[in-house]
């Protein structure tokens, strides 16, 4: 499920990679809201009885960005394999609740400003109206440390998500103590 307003980019990548899983496009970040997802890539485990058995956490598919993320991607993969094969979980319900990232009132409002911005982009069909930008900016003021807002906005306003603005944001986020997911699966010491 892609947290992405750029349907073309999602379709192109999923097609190129020949993904066999269902690939959904969540342009309004509905699932981010429902499951407390504040950055990508992230994973949530849901069992046969519709129970959340592992909360959203950073789960890189590989070690490509390991120097930056400080995450050993294999740790989650191994936990996942064990759960799929034997049903054995690494967290009980109390721990799942402990590590959920619940939203602040401001984050919930930021998500709605972002939705208005996306709706305006679609209506105006020029992809980047001034009105849309106003709401994206308001969303960032309300949720300055949420990656789905701050970094997710970058391509929408023509900012390189790997450029100067991004590293400025990473600096802010690091100075704030790297808030976000709490579980820290596979975190390694530098």
């Amino acid at each position: 499920m892609a947290l992405d307003a750029d349907e073309v980019a999602v379709r192109e990548w999923a097609t190129k990679e020949q993904l066999t899983m269902p690939v959904l496009i969540d342009k309004y970040h509905v699932v981010a809201d429902l499951y407390g997802i504040v950055n990508v890539p992230a994973a949530v485990w849901v069992d046969e009885n519709d129970r959340i058995v592992r909360p959203a956490d950073s789960t890189p598919g590989s070690d490509l960005f390991r120097d930056f993320s400080n995450v050993d991607s294999e740790v989650h993969h191994n936990l996942l394999r064990k759960w799929v094969r034997s049903g054995e979980r690494d967290l009980d319900d109390a721990r799942v609740r402990e590590f959920q990232v619940k939203p602040s009132p401001d984050v919930q409002l930021a998500r709605l400003h972002r939705r208005i911005a996306i709706a305006l982009r679609e209506r105006d069909q020029d992809g980047d109206s001034l009105a849309s930008r106003e709401h994206l900016t308001r969303a960032e003021e309300l949720a300055p440390l949420d990656w789905t807002i701050r970094r997710g906005n970058m391509p929408l306003v023509g900012v390189d998500p790997f450029g100067d603005e991004f590293f400025k944001f990473v600096g802010e986020w690091t100075n704030a103590g790297r808030p976000g997911f709490k579980l820290g699966t596979g975190r390694v010491k530098k």
Binding site: M1, A2, A14, V30, V31, A32, V40, W45, K102
Partner: protein, 137 residues
């Protein structure tokens, strides 16, 4: 009436008529039900089997339209709206989102896949599911 848009909690966008002479962001009664899934009944504002009583009906409706700002207040939802651009977005408040997360019940959702087909999370129930969030950014 002016044409506007409402994005609801499920991320569905509905084109609506926005009243020019009532409320902060009021939509016609028919559009209200289409956009929100809620209905105005004699017993109050209702969705599925749940009804919320209304104390100040004249703030909610003028008989032709319903003010979404008052609706959101009564039903304890968030609303953000842009009156000038005629767009409103409804969403869950932080406290109730926190409560629903604590229940550990996996909420259902419906989204388009890359081929444009609507897919529900519950289409895959009764099996283990890995919900992976990623993006192009």
């Amino acid at each position: 009436m002016n044409q506007g848009r409402v994005v609801n909690q499920e991320g569905e966008t509905t084109v609506v008529d926005v009243a020019s002479n009532f409320g902060e962001f009021a939509v016609s009664l028919a559009d209200f039900a289409r956009a929100t899934g809620w209905q105005l009944k004699p017993e109050g504002l209702c969705i599925d089997e749940i009804c919320v009583p209304i104390r100040e009906a004249n703030r909610l409706t003028d008989g032709a339209s319903i003010d979404l700002v008052e609706f959101a207040r009564v039903t304890k939802q968030n609303i953000v709206f842009d009156r000038q651009r005629q767009v409103a977005a409804l969403g869950e408040r932080a406290d109730s989102r926190g409560d629903s997360m604590s229940s550990l019940l996996a909420p259902d959702f419906k989204l388009p896949d890359i081929h444009g087909r609507q897919v529900s999370f519950s289409d895959f129930n009764r099996r283990k599911r890995l919900l992976l969030a990623w993006s192009s950014w």
